[in-house]
């Protein structure tokens, strides 16, 4: 009706002068700083999400540089596993390929003289014999291997030359540990050489360095080239005896290439005080590394077989319990900027090697070791995109505390790591 429309047009937007003091009366009745967070501007959300995604990409690119790289060790392109069973006749000149076909009865790997000398059940390293010792084998060691001596033979980073030239099977002995730890420290490595009767012949001091690795690599190339007989394992010469391994193991003969560590998890963040909160959760981490190396397989009948693989991929899965304390620095309706610190305890659940050759492909599950700890701190930012939803990015610096039995990984090679978490946080 026209009358109604006219009335509405006059009264709908009418205004009156507000009495003085009314705001103060209202203000005194409403609590300050109350209310819940609301979603931010979509464009602020988009800015935050874009920044978070960009930061994740940057982190991935930075750490991708440490990812697996194959082909660097071209020398190890030999045919599948060079079987290095030692026949009874150490002077045999049969090629290795021929040896592989030898009747199993002759696959008595360890010469009796050496076997007699074995007292301790020690996990050995390598049983590849080298008849002709080239120029004193020079140790090579990764500068990044800062771990102490390990009783797990398969995960040593350093000293591939030592594994070929020396008898360092006694990993758990002080001498072997000295070897390993010396290698790890990058100074001098001792080797032990024995004659056929098991007596120590001489002790050599060998320096390690980058150049030595290259020399070692070339030697292997010659041995493993297709069509070339490989006399080294059986030609006359000093027999480098080692104590027999009692369990299977993998030993790298090249530097490890580490993949980007990835972790996924869930957690709960519980407020304790206006600016303080605590977060606990459960994380699963995947660590990978690849290298060229030797696989020593000890069968149930104590038959020992040794293979050389150009590509061995080690996969480790950890389950961790992180605990962090958060302090909110800036907190408003669309973002939360905070500092945090804490630690985590992790247990390795899987330490598996997949070994790729042609046509051989093998896999081997090694020991998982004890727990691994870490401490870290960082700054975080959360973009509040909805009433109960936020996207957070937590870059941090973390130091991993590795035990004696920790499997070799990027965390043992580089305990101090920079990383970041990117995820969603839902307010309950």
């Amino acid at each position: 009706m026209i009358f109604d429309e006219k009335i509405r047009s006059i009264m709908e937007n009418g205004s009156e002068e507000v009495p003085a003091g009314l705001w103060e009366a209202v203000e005194s009745r409403i609590p300050a700083g109350s209310g819940k967070k609301r979603g931010a501007f979509i464009w602020l959300w988009s800015t935050g999400a874009a920044l978070s995604a960009a930061a994740a990409v940057v982190l991935a690119v930075v750490f991708a540089g440490h990812g697996n790289k194959e082909g660097q060790i071209e020398i190890l392109t030999s045919p599948s596993g060079i079987l290095t069973d030692v026949p009874g006749d150490a002077t045999s000149t049969e090629s290795l390929s021929e040896q592989r076909d030898m009747p199993s009865g002759t696959r008595d790997f360890i010469p009796q003289a050496v076997t007699d000398g074995i007292q301790d059940k020690v996990e050995g390293k390598d049983f590849i014999e080298e008849a002709e010792s080239p120029a004193p084998a020079e140790e090579t060691a990764s500068a990044t291997d800062a771990a102490a001596a390990e009783s797990t033979p398969a995960v040593e980073v350093s000293t591939p030359a030592a594994e070929v030239n020396t008898a360092t099977a006694e990993v758990s002995t002080p001498a072997a540990e000295g070897n390993v730890s010396a290698a790890a420290s990058g100074s001098i490595v001792e080797s032990e050489e024995f004659d056929e009767s098991g007596r120590e012949i001489e002790r050599k001091e060998m320096k390690k360095g980058a150049a030595s690795f290259e020399a070692f690599g070339n030697a292997l190339t010659n041995l493993s080239k297709p069509g070339i007989e490989a006399p080294a394992a059986h030609a006359p010469g000093r027999m480098l005896a080692r104590k027999a391994p009692t369990s299977s193991s993998v030993e790298p003969t090249s530097d490890r290439k580490y993949g980007l560590p990835m972790s996924f998890g869930v957690g709960v963040k519980i407020p304790l005080a206006p600016k303080w909160s605590i977060g606990v959760g459960l994380d699963a981490s995947l660590l990978t590394n690849s290298f060229a190396g030797n696989y020593t397989k000890v069968g149930e009948d104590m038959i020992i077989e040794s293979y050389v693989f150009p590509n061995i991929r080690n996969t480790q899965v950890y389950l961790g319990l992180p605990v962090n304390v958060y302090f909110s620095i800036i907190n408003n309706s669309f973002l939360d900027f905070y500092a945090y610190g804490g630690g985590s305890v992790e247990k390795c659940l899987l330490n598996k090697y997949n070994m790729f050759g042609d046509p051989e492909k093998l896999s081997f599950k090694d020991k998982t070791g004890g727990v691994q700890g870490s401490v870290g701190a960082g700054l975080g930012i959360e973009f509040i995109v909805a009433k109960r939803l936020g996207i957070f990015l937590d870059p941090s610096v973390r130091y991993y505390i590795n035990g004696k039995n920790s499997p070799k990984s990027i965390r043992t090679a580089q305990p101090l790591m920079v990383g970041g978490e990117l995820g969603l946080r839902v307010r309950l």
């Binding site: 026209i2 009358f3 109604d4 006219k6 009335i7 509405r8 006059i10 009264m11 709908e12 937007n13 009418g14 205004s15 009156e16 002068e17 507000v18 009495p19 009314l22 705001w23 009366a25 209202v26 203000e27 009745r29 409403i30 609590p31 300050a32 700083g33 109350s34 209310g35 819940k36 967070k37 609301r38 979603g39 931010a40 501007f41 979509i42 464009w43 959300w45 988009s46 800015t47 874009a50 408003n332 309706s333 669309f334």
Partner: protein
């Protein structure tokens, strides 16, 4: 339009933002004077934001309160109660519809609650009109202003005034009025007609 400009700038800043600009376009428009940032700050309890919203809403809402309760002094109390109620519920504003329209409903409810306290809505005040019905000839309203019309409206009995305000000015349906006031739709229509007729008469008499 502020959000159109924002969209344009967002696109110009970086192509990465373009995907989100579409989401902004699809969102319902907020009241021009009440941007989301202001409301969010109010939700957080920001005093300056609350004062800003008070300054923007108070004049109009005070007029609304006077229209309903008919008395300036009581309207001040209703206005105060209305803002307390608004700030306590502001986090429930979902962005559907204008913020001012949402706020207006809060103040209407607050005013009706005040009338219910007085039991004014239950009383059947007689509304005497000379003619008793709406004239077919349009009442000349061109020369009547806001203050004069407000004065006339406040002279209506409480129940008639409530029905008139709810239907004519604030856009409620008779069904909604019946539910709010606890009357039937027939009664609502009847009281509205009588209120219109009374106002027409008073406008002509002045």
């Amino acid at each position: 339009m502020p959000y159109a400009c924002l969209i344009t700038r967002a696109c110009n800043v970086s192509g990465a933002f373009c995907i989100y600009t579409h989401a902004i376009i699809l969102r319902p428009a907020l009241a021009e004077t009440f941007d989301q940032k202001l409301i969010d700050a109010c939700v957080k309890g920001d005093r300056k934001a609350q004062k800003k919203i008070f300054d923007l809403l108070a004049p109009k809402m005070f007029s609304l309160c006077i229209r309903y309760v008919g008395d300036r002094a009581k309207a001040e109390d209703v206005l105060q109660d209305g803002f307390v109620s608004l700030f306590s519920k502001i986090d429930s504003y979902a962005g559907n519809g204008s913020f001012e329209g949402w706020a207006r409903r809060i103040f209407v409810n607050t005013a009706l609650m005040e009338l219910r306290k007085k039991e004014a809505l239950k009383m059947s005040d007689p509304l005497e009109t000379a003619r008793g019905s709406l004239s077919d000839n349009p009442t000349p309203l061109e020369d009547i202003g806001y203050k004069e019309l407000m004065q006339l409206i406040t002279q209506l009995p409480d129940k008639y005034r409530a029905v008139f305000n709810l239907f004519v000015i604030d856009g409620y349906t008779h069904k909604e009025i019946a539910e709010e006031l606890g009357i039937t739709e027939v009664t609502s229509r009847s009281q509205l007609g009588r209120a219109r007729a009374w106002l027409q008469e008073k406008i002509k008499e002045r």
